[in-house]
Structures are given as C-alpha cells and as structure tokens.
C-alpha cells in the first residue's frame, strides 16, 4: 500500500495524481486507464492483474460493464469478503457509462475499500468527465495510466524495441525498422509480430529474420500508390497497388485518392502565377500547389484529360459496372503511369 499513501499526499492541482506510461502501471486503489489505444490499455490491465496475482494468488477478479451498469453492482463486488482476499475490479466502457455508475463510483472514491483495486477503462470522450476530474483531482488516491495512440514512426519503433527488450532479446535497428514499416497500421499486429519473432526465432533478431518471416509485406496507402503512378513508375506502382490491396485498402477510396491528385494537377496545369496567389484562388494550401507543379512535369493537357476519363470509368468499374475491380485499378494505374499517352486494354 505504499503507492496509496504516497499518492494521497499529492497536491490538489487539476491533475494531482501520477500520470504514467502504460508499461509503468502499478497497483493503486483506483487506476484510471485512459486514452484511445485499446490494445495498450488491455495490455496494461493484464499486466496489473499478473502483478497482483503474483502478490497474492487468491486474488478475486470481477468485471463490470459501465455501459450497462445497474445500481448497487459496485458495492456488491467491492464489499469485503469473509477471508479478506484482495480484489481487482475491472470496469470497462466508462466512456459510455450510466449515470448510476458515475454517482456510485464518486461515493466509492470517498472511502475506497481496503485491499481492493478498482480499474476504470475510459476510451476517450466527454462522458463521465465529472468522474475523471474527481479521480484526477486526487479523490480515492488513484493513478492514471495514459494509453495514447502510437502515431509517430519513432513511437512505434520505441514500442517494438521495448517488446524485444522485455523478452530479453536484442533486435537490430534495421530489423525493427522493417517490422514497423510492415505493420504500420495496427499496434496489435505489430505486437503480435514481435511476439512471434521472439518465440519462433533464437538469438538476435536481425533484418534477415524479419525478411524470413514477413518478407514482401509493406503497408502502403492509396496516396503513396498515386504518387508513384503519377511520377511514371509503372512497375513500382503496380507492386504498391497490390501491397495496398493486400493490406486491406478498398478499391473505391484508392480511386478517390487518385482522382484528388489528378484533379489538383488539372486545376494547377492551366493556371499561371505565384503559388501563394494560386492557392488562395483555387482554395488549396500552397504546398499542394507546389507539389502539383512538381508532379506536372512531363504531363500534357490531353494526357490529363484522358486520365480523368479513365478515372471516371474506373470509378464506375469498382462500383459494380465491371466484374473485376482490381483489374480496372491496374488498367487505371497503367494509363496514369504512362501520363495518359496510351491505354492498356
């Protein structure tokens, strides 16, 4: 209970409790797990349970769904039992909680039960703000574990490195980079990939290991495909298109991404003047204009026109006018990569 006493001594500022990273979670009477990244939150809560289970194997775990909370539930599971086992109460869905839940947790915070750990999972949003403010204000002597989304590439690299380190394994920088670029969409997938490498391979994890398990997998976006195609690199664009489709991109937004780029180029193509002036005239950001001007090298008006026609045709095709949306996309990439000069039928 050391954590509890130290937390109680905290100042009464707006956030008076320690805010920790997900991996630093530790037992406290009230643990608020906030943030949008569900995967990390689940992991943090699991870690907490393992720690508590290690301390006392008779730990009693109960779950509460805050979205369907009925009055009295918390009191029932938090009231002391005959043998006084420690208890872990996990409340999920606090971002959708009922009014009764807020009221009862607030009154519970005034006198938390001994040997009971209440974990509140709040997935972000305004609901239950009063409750969050009370916990952050120090009521109940809690801690907050912040699980924000890993948006930046470096965050993901750090995450992967930590994964290997916690398993006592070493991974080369190149291997981690390759892994992160292969699983850039979802942290859960990245973590699963790390775990698989840790359990299936022996020794240091090197680029060769990653290559062996996940070779050729690159996550890419529709815009990246469009960039390569517009630059005229046909083969590379086709490969990337296949990667995008294989990693879950849908043909319809891919066409939309292409259309957006080509539309901007067409608008810029016939306009003269400095970028700043054009930007305000066309309602776009100056960098978009500069980008379009760079993209336009080697393009002709007629070529742009043909590409726009093919785009409309492809949009119809991927929405059911033709049988094979992927073929239609490939044909479109062909026309755009040749800058509208030829049609591959």
């Amino acid at each position: 209970m050391a954590a509890r006493t130290s937390a109680r001594g905290g100042a009464k500022a707006s956030v008076a409790i320690p805010q920790l990273d997900w991996s630093k979670i530790r037992p406290a009477p009230v643990v608020l797990v906030s943030g949008t990244e569900n995967f990390l939150a689940d992991r943090a809560i699991r870690m907490l349970r393992e720690v508590l289970k290690l301390e006392d194997p008779s730990l009693e775990v109960s779950d509460i769904d805050a979205a369907a909370y009925a009055p009295g539930e918390l009191l029932t599971v938090a009231s002391p039992s005959l043998f006084g086992e420690p208890r872990l109460i996990r409340a999920t869905g606090v971002e959708k909680c009922t009014d009764a839940f807020i009221a009862e947790v607030l009154s519970y915070l005034e006198a938390p039960a001994d040997g009971t750990y209440l974990v509140l999972r709040h997935g972000g949003g305004m609901r239950g703000k009063k409750l969050l403010d009370a916990i952050r204000g120090g009521a109940g002597g809690g801690i907050e574990v912040v699980c924000t989304e890993l948006k930046k590439e470096t965050d993901k690299v750090d995450f992967a490195v930590a994964e290997f380190r916690s398993a006592g394994r070493k991974a080369t920088a190149g291997a981690v980079r390759a892994l992160v670029s292969a699983f850039s969409d979802d942290v859960a997938e990245l973590a699963a990939a790390c775990q698989q490498l840790i359990s299936d391979s022996s020794g240091d994890v090197t680029e060769a290991t990653v290559e062996k398990y996940y070779s050729g997998r690159v996550e890419t976006t529709a815009f990246a495909v469009a960039d390569v195609a517009i630059a005229g690199r046909h083969g590379e664009a086709l490969v990337m298109l296949r990667h995008a489709l294989a990693s879950g991109a849908d043909p319809v937004p891919i066409v939309a991404a292409f259309a957006m780029k080509v539309r901007t180029m067409a608008k810029v193509a016939g306009s003269r003047g400095p970028s700043g002036q054009l930007a305000s005239q066309l309602g776009m950001a100056p960098w978009q204009i500069d980008r379009a001007k760079r993209d336009l090298q080697g393009w002709s008006g007629a070529g742009l026109g043909r590409c726009i026609e093919v785009l409309a045709e492809t949009d119809a095709a991927v929405k059911g006018a033709e049988r094979d949306p992927v073929f239609a996309l490939e044909r479109m990439v062909g026309v755009i990569a040749s800058r509208g000069a030829s049609r591959i039928e």
Binding site: R263, A266, K267, G301, A302, A312, G320
Partner: protein, 386 residues
C-alpha cells in the same frame, strides 16, 4: 369545372381515363373500359401524377368529372379511401410498400373505390416490386392501383404484364406556355421562354417562370460549359456546376428542413432554442436522417437537371451545325450558340452528347458526381483545335 380541365396536352390519355371512370360509375359489366391496375408512363414533367390524381378523384366521386368536395380531399391527400406512396429519397423502401399492400385489402369506407397511387414506381427495387405482384394481379373487388413511372422499361416485366398501360406524350411548348401564363400570371414572352427552356417539363417551366435565381443558375450553367477550352477549364467548370447544383438543391430543401424541424420540436413540446432532452434526441435524429436522404436525392436531381440543360445546349449546337430547321431550345443564347457551332464539328458535338449520356448513367451507378462531371466536360475540350 371538371377534374380533367387542369391537365395540359394529354387529350388521348384523358379520354381513356374518363371512359374508365364513367364505366366504373355506371357499373356496367359489359363495358371493358375500367380495370383494377393502371400504369401511367410519360416523360418527366408531362403530368403523370396530376393525371393519376385526377383519375383517383373521378373514381372516388360518383361523377366521372369529379365533385368539388372529393377534389379538395384528394388535393389535401386526406381522402379516407386514397392511399399515396411517394418518395423524396432515392428509393421506395420495402416496408412502405408492405404497409400499402396490407391497407389495400380494406374495403372502401365512403367512396365506391379504394385507390392506391404509387407516384415513383420506378424507384422500387426488384425485391420491393415483387411484393406488389400479388396485390396488383388480384386486388379486392373495389381496390384500384395506379402506378406512375417515366417508362414501362423502368418496371420489371412481371409488373408490366399485370397493369393496363397509358402513355402520355410530351406536351407542345405552346400548350405549356399557355398553362404557365394562365396559372402563374406571367407575361406571354417569359412563359414561352420558360416552356421552351424546360423542354415542356411543366414543373420546371413553372419554376423557371417564377424564380429568377433558377433562371440565372440555368444560364450560368450553359455559359460555363460554352467557356471551356482546356482540361483545366473543364475541371474548374465541373466544380462550378456541382456548386450550382448544390445551390439549386439547397434552395428547394433548406427552407423546408428548417420548417419541419421547428414543427417537430413544437409537437414534441420543446421551446424554440431550448435544449432537447436526451430521450427525444433519437426522434430528431430520425428526422435529420430523413432530411439527409432527401438532400441526397435533391442534389442528384439538381445534377440531372444540369445534364438535361447541357444536353439541350449541345442539341442546339448540333442543329445549327447541321442546318436543321427545328426550333432551338436556348434562343436566348443564339449568338453564343452560333459561335460555338462554327468553332467545332458535328462529330465532336455528337461525342459530347454521348459523354453527357454516359455521365448520367454513371451518376445513377453511384460514381462520384465530381468525377463524372469532369470526365464529361473533358470530352468538350477535345474538339478544340490544339
């Protein structure tokens, strides 16, 4: 005054329906003029639904020319024996049809017949249409179905074979102009121009004759299209047209949306500007969703109007190029038309007309409107000497 007087230029169809109504009133089993399922087809704006309601009035009254009380009830859509299915969204849902079919089984309460009208029968999907088959084929003795659609091809064959079809024709420009002049009280010149530019679409002619903004938007559409020289022009023009269509659609729906919301709030007992209790939010949300669906339809209709206007423009250009002695639709743009005709060739104009038809088909198939319009206008640039 008879219910048939207000209808313009459909003498043959009116004769058919009047005979049917007369035979229905006489209850003569030897007379085959009346039947239980009707389909009225005709181009948009030819007065399909007006004719359907005139026929409904005649059937619901005892007199084949309709009496005044019944006419007022039909106009207010409040006659107890009249059921109307119309939609302001993209499609008619299966649930709407289901409830209509079950209500068709009731016998009439005050009139001789129960009349079921489906205004946009072409907006039913195949599954929905199938639901109607049984009801259309063997309705209870005193139920009459009247369906309206632009053409017979819009309905599935199994429905076509169960209805008696009456075709309307496009009313002559002069007839529409006379109607507009009489009904809206505008000058003969404006009425004639509106009738011509709407290509005899009575509803559109009414709008063009009475609404300056609508007229301005139409002219701007055509001038934008005529000003296209390069691909850049085409893309920018597509954005302009989309904006115009949006404005046009908004002008129709915006005021109604606000009124409806206010009415809904009042009937729910919420003061204007007051906070909405959480329990009522779902009802308002349903209303908003309805309005959104209507806006989708409205925007699509707006884009389609633009396409029709452009089609009329290039039709005129083609007529001038071929030296045909047929009346032009866009007489107000005569000079620009001749200039455009001189600067391109008939093959190119035909290609543009094809492109417009393709774009209409694509938008129907859910292609992004901006993309469809851009591709259409790119076709315009091709005839320009490089």
């Amino acid at each position: 005054m008879s219910v048939w007087d207000e209808l313009t230029g459909q003498t043959e169809a009116i004769e058919v329906f009047r005979a049917a109504a007369a035979s229905a009133a006489a209850l003569d089993p030897a007379d085959n003029a009346m039947t239980h399922s009707w389909l009225i087809t005709g181009p948009p704006g030819s007065g399909r639904s007006n004719l359907a309601f005139a026929f409904a009035t005649a059937l619901l009254s005892t007199d084949p020319d309709g009496d005044d009380a019944t006419r007022r009830q039909v106009e207010a859509r409040s006659h107890p024996d009249l059921a109307v299915l119309t939609t302001e969204r993209v499609i008619i849902t299966i649930d709407e049809v289901r409830s209509l079919v079950s209500s068709s089984q009731f016998s009439p309460s005050v009139a001789r017949y129960r009349v079921m009208v489906i205004e946009d029968a072409d907006r039913m999907t195949e599954r929905t249409s199938n639901l109607l088959l049984k009801a259309l084929e063997e309705p209870p003795p005193r139920t009459v179905w009247i369906l309206c659609a632009p053409s017979e091809a819009d309905l599935i064959p199994t429905i076509r074979s169960r209805v008696r079809s009456v075709r309307l024709r496009v009313p002559a420009v002069a007839e529409v102009a006379r109607l507009i002049e009489r009904r809206d009280g505008v000058g003969p010149e404006l009425a004639l121009r509106a009738a011509r530019e709407s290509q005899s679409h009575i509803g559109m002619a009414h709008r063009l004759a009475t609404n300056d903004d609508a007229r301005r938007r139409r002219e701007q559409t055509l001038r934008t299209a005529l000003g296209i020289r390069t691909v850049t022009d085409a893309v920018l023009a597509a954005a302009t047209l989309l904006e115009l269509a949006g404005e046009d659609a908004k002008a129709i729906t915006e005021q109604r949306d606000a009124e409806e919301r206010e009415q809904a709030l009042r009937s729910l007992g919420v003061d204007a500007g007051g906070t909405i209790p959480p329990a009522l939010r779902s009802q308002l949300k349903a209303l908003e969703e309805d309005q959104k669906r209507r806006a989708t339809r409205s925007l699509r209709d707006g884009i389609d109007r633009i396409m029709v206007d452009l089609q009329s423009l290039y039709r005129d250009v083609l007529l001038v190029q071929l030296g045909a002695s047929v009346d032009l639709v866009n007489l107000s743009l005569d000079e620009e038309l001749r200039r455009a005709a001189a600067s391109s060739r008939p093959e190119h104009t035909l290609a543009v007309l094809d492109a417009i038809a393709t774009a209409r088909r694509r938008i129907e198939g859910n292609v992004a409107p901006a993309l469809a319009l851009e591709a259409m206008l790119v076709a315009v640039t091709k005839g320009e000497p490089a």
